[in-house]
């Protein structure tokens, strides 16, 4: 309600073309209104996807050259770390072969995707993982030899799990989706992806 009033007053000010430039908050409110009017629901993608949670809002503010204060980053990382859940059976590793398939698939979440089909993690879009796949992106770091470099022990397993579940726990406003926190991948799928990173027989560690 409040947002609406600000948006309208900002609009009025802009239309009048008066000398005072609109504040950042006014522009933000106006932008959200413009977005809400400019997108239409389709398939599984409803309009509420334009609404931001705290993390999304904070990360949007501290972008485009607006540096994030250290204490904000620390707070985000603490909050996001606290959101991580672990499997009831305590096992973090699944089948790396299934993990490789998940890493290759970019399906899921788009309005033209079947919401009933499992989502992929599309790891290769951003990361190098194996020598076999030459079509990989560089948005994230190379994960080739992930466990060979860091070790195969339980601490690294947990780190890998946490990263896939909610990467913001270690890097506030990371570009990586929160695969566990947002329910993009199932628990079993995360286990499989973690196995791809951690299993000594996985091509990642060859």
């Amino acid at each position: 309600m409040k947002t609406k009033i600000i948006a309208l007053s900002a609009l009025a000010a802009l239309v009048a073309g008066c000398a005072t430039t609109p504040s950042d908050e006014e522009i933000a409110a106006r932008s959200l209104a413009v977005m809400k009017a400019g997108f239409k629901e389709r398939g599984q993608a409803k309009l509420d996807r334009l609404d931001q949670d705290n993390l999304q809002r904070t990360c949007s503010i501290y972008s485009g050259g607006n540096e994030m204060p250290k204490e904000v980053a620390a707070r985000i990382e603490k909050e996001q770390l606290a959101s991580i859940r672990y499997p009831a059976d305590g096992k973090l590793l699944g089948d790396w072969k299934a993990g490789e398939k998940i890493a290759q698939s970019g399906r899921g979440g788009q309005y033209n995707d079947n919401p009933k089909a499992p989502s992929g993690a599309n790891c290769y879009a951003c990361h190098q993982l194996t020598k076999q796949e030459v079509s990989y992106g560089t948005i994230g770091p190379s994960l080739f030899n992930f466990a060979k470099v860091r070790g195969f022990g339980p601490d690294v397993q947990k780190y890998a799990w946490n990263k896939v579940f909610n990467s913001h726990a270690y890097a506030a406003c990371s570009s990586m989706p929160r695969f566990g926190h947002r329910g993009i991948l199932t628990e079993q799928q995360i286990k499989d992806v973690v196995a791809l990173l951690m299993d000594p027989n996985s091509p990642v560690n060859k």
Binding site: L14, V15, G17, P22, I27, A28, R30, S31, V34, M35, A37, G38, F39, K40, E41, R42, A45, K46, L47, R49, L50, D51, Q52, L55, Q56, C59, S60, S63, G64, G65, G109, Q110, Y111, N112, Y124, A125, C126, Q128, K131, Q132, V134, S135, Y136, G137, T138, I139, S142, F144, S175, P177, R178, R182, G183, I184
Partner: protein, 272 residues
Amino acid sequence: MNQTWERAARAACAIVALTACGASAQERSAVEEIERYRQALGDGNPAELWEARGESLWKEKAGPKNASLEKCDLGLGPGVVRGAYAQMPRYFADSGKVEDLESRLVTCRSTLQGIAPEEAKKNPFGGPGRKTVNDALVAYITSESRGIKMNVQTSHPKEAEAYEVGRKIFFHRGGPYDFACATCHGVDNIRIRLQDLPNLTKQVDAQRAYTSWPAYRVSQGEVRTFQWRLEDCFRQQRFPHLDFTSEASIALTMFLAKNANGAPFNAPSIKR
């Protein structure tokens, strides 16, 4: 010419064969080969077929008013096509709105030809066996700005507002994957799979990217317009469906187009 090709081919083969060799060498050769692929397609762009059809559609009488679009004002006066796209989006006093090329064409088809705006907006993008007026007109009009420097202004308050709103939309993280446009297009020198991602907040990248749309997409066999580019980006961003010629799409276009100012426009191009 042939020698260069053969040498490069030999080098690439050797590298691909030696899977044990360093990742950077392998990756470079793949990227180089893709560059060669793109160059080979540069000569003979099927977008020319759209440009020719668009020119005919611009001059043909159509619609309930049986009129051509030759009196359409794209910002440089009625009927002036040459260079018009390099200054769009812009504010139009007759509609009282900031319009990009595609929304302006809806306005002109409605006012000059008498086609209802809803009708003019329907199915704007072509598909297998379906050719659209929008794709063809856009190919023609943009081709008439080839070689002309981008010069988008924000002197009118509504233009300035559109730019700022577009900027906000660009950095707006949302949806189940937390993506913003900036997630992929706000960082230098990154790629998704093998596709280079321009940093659209940086002038040189924004110039190179913006001035290369519209493009003939070989994967689809269609000319894709800038409205299409934005719509499909948001799909992959896991956002809802961006409405054709919505104010949001025009504001974002304003932000991206102005960031490309100073560079010669060079499209329709050809892309994978």
